[in-house]
Symmetry: C2
Subunit: 318 residues, 2 copies
Amino acid sequence: MAVLAMDLGGTKLAVAVFSPTGILLSNEVVELDNRQGNAVGALITGMAQQAIAAQQATDMPVQAIGISVPGINHQKEGTVWAPNIPGWDAYPLLKEVKQVSGNIPVIIESDRACYVLGEQWQGNAHGCKDVIFLAVGTGIGAGILVNGKVLRGAHDIAGAIGWMALQQPFRSQYVDCGCFEYHASGEGIAKVVKALLAAEPSYNGVLRQQPVEQISARDVFAAYDKKDVLATTVIQSCITYWGMAVANLVSLFNPQKIIFGGGVFGPATALIPAIKAEALKWAQPISMQLVSVEATALNGSAGIYGAGFLALQESRPS
Amino acid sequence: MAVLAMDLGGTKLAVAVFSPTGILLSNEVVELDNRQGNAVGALITGMAQQAIAAQQATDMPVQAIGISVPGINHQKEGTVWAPNIPGWDAYPLLKEVKQVSGNIPVIIESDRACYVLGEQWQGNAHGCKDVIFLAVGTGIGAGILVNGKVLRGAHDIAGAIGWMALQQPFRSQYVDCGCFEYHASGEGIAKVVKALLAAEPSYNGVLRQQPVEQISARDVFAAYDKKDVLATTVIQSCITYWGMAVANLVSLFNPQKIIFGGGVFGPATALIPAIKAEALKWAQPISMQLVSVEATALNGSAGIYGAGFLALQESRPS
């Protein structure tokens, strides 16, 4: 037997097949090419059908399907809310995939839950029952395991850590994304730099040498590596926010590990010792001594591993 | 049958007997009278023996004992850390109580876990599986239920929300108690007022009319009710902190309810609408719309109810 894992992102879909022992047998990535709504659903069901047929031809047929989605999976309703996929406000993905999967069970989870499950299965959280994956990319989200189970909350919206309040007073820029995400996400870093460039006409460093609307977090990290003064201000501020967020997770959850991932970690991985030093100032001191703060071991693949792990669990009913 | 519930506080011990249907049959409170270490243990075992014997003489013998402790119960070790009871760094309470309880099972939990369990059993969280009790007294702690289970963390230290980082920059006053607790606990309110009285010699309101070292949070609320300017500044700041804390719990946990209790709620109960309005600015918007923010229904008794509930669960093995 084998399991099928699918990881839907905002711009692409990854499709992988895992052996029962967790070996990655195949891995394919297709671009969404601006597909929206039903067309994204059709891409997923088409790729699923194709993979099921391909495995059927081998001695390892697909026993279960796990799907990671970039948003919230409402477990009871079987619908997905994915803010970056137009038309996916309450998309009936489970029903659609079941129409092509026949008797093969299907399980869908939010990407942040899949990240932490992937890390637990084949990454840096192996054997951890209380662990948090802090995904810092365009936005910020947290996949949280409590005593080995995904923390979903009452309506599957738990882990929305981008909304964490970390600095007074409240500012209008927080309305659409939350305080933490405004100051310390990939998109936030670019926004903060653009605001500073407008506010500081005397600055004439490397970040002034490209069209302002094209500046990304990656450019800011490159400027930080060159000791640019504006980039240094912004990244130092991010270290404070990331450290406070780690501290708050440590004080509330007393986890064994906090694992940073997402596109920003990435370049921010080198900052983890500074982030931990910041967290040490704020957090419950005993919990802080006992936690390990690390970078993902799976780079961009935590989601597909998590989806594979969910499928494997589903294929072995307890 | 009946169950025995004990709620140890920093200055007193409550002892109650509940019927199997949850009716409070008896309730007694004894002062600790400055007892320390083993003497507190002896008080608990003595009261337990006495209650067991008294129930034995009726047709409702004690079937299980639940104990709420003011600190952390280390489940694996069977030891209690209680910062306000001298000599209780790793106190072997479970072993001691088992010596007098014979075959009667004993379960010990942190007070904050008992608060939320009590509220779930006979208070405002009835039927809630995802609910948080925010206890604001001398200090601040959170009892958190995730899918019906107490959130303990990897080392039983979860819920240490007094350490939540909510305002930059870090200040030396946060070292011993955490940012949130410094600004918005009962002890914190008194400390902040004393610092303001020292910093504002021109203030001549009601809080200047008593010896500064005797000022308590209760005095600050009384002055706030009289529209005193200094008390208003401090309580408004507390509303901001409490609102940010609610917001962060909502964004992270997506709970059904957040319940305020502890000595400060109490007088701060009237502020819950203002706290909710503050939280609304910061939190994940959908989760915030779906959460209910309320005051405890059990006043100072949530701990003893929680201990009773634990004992009742223990007396009915699943």
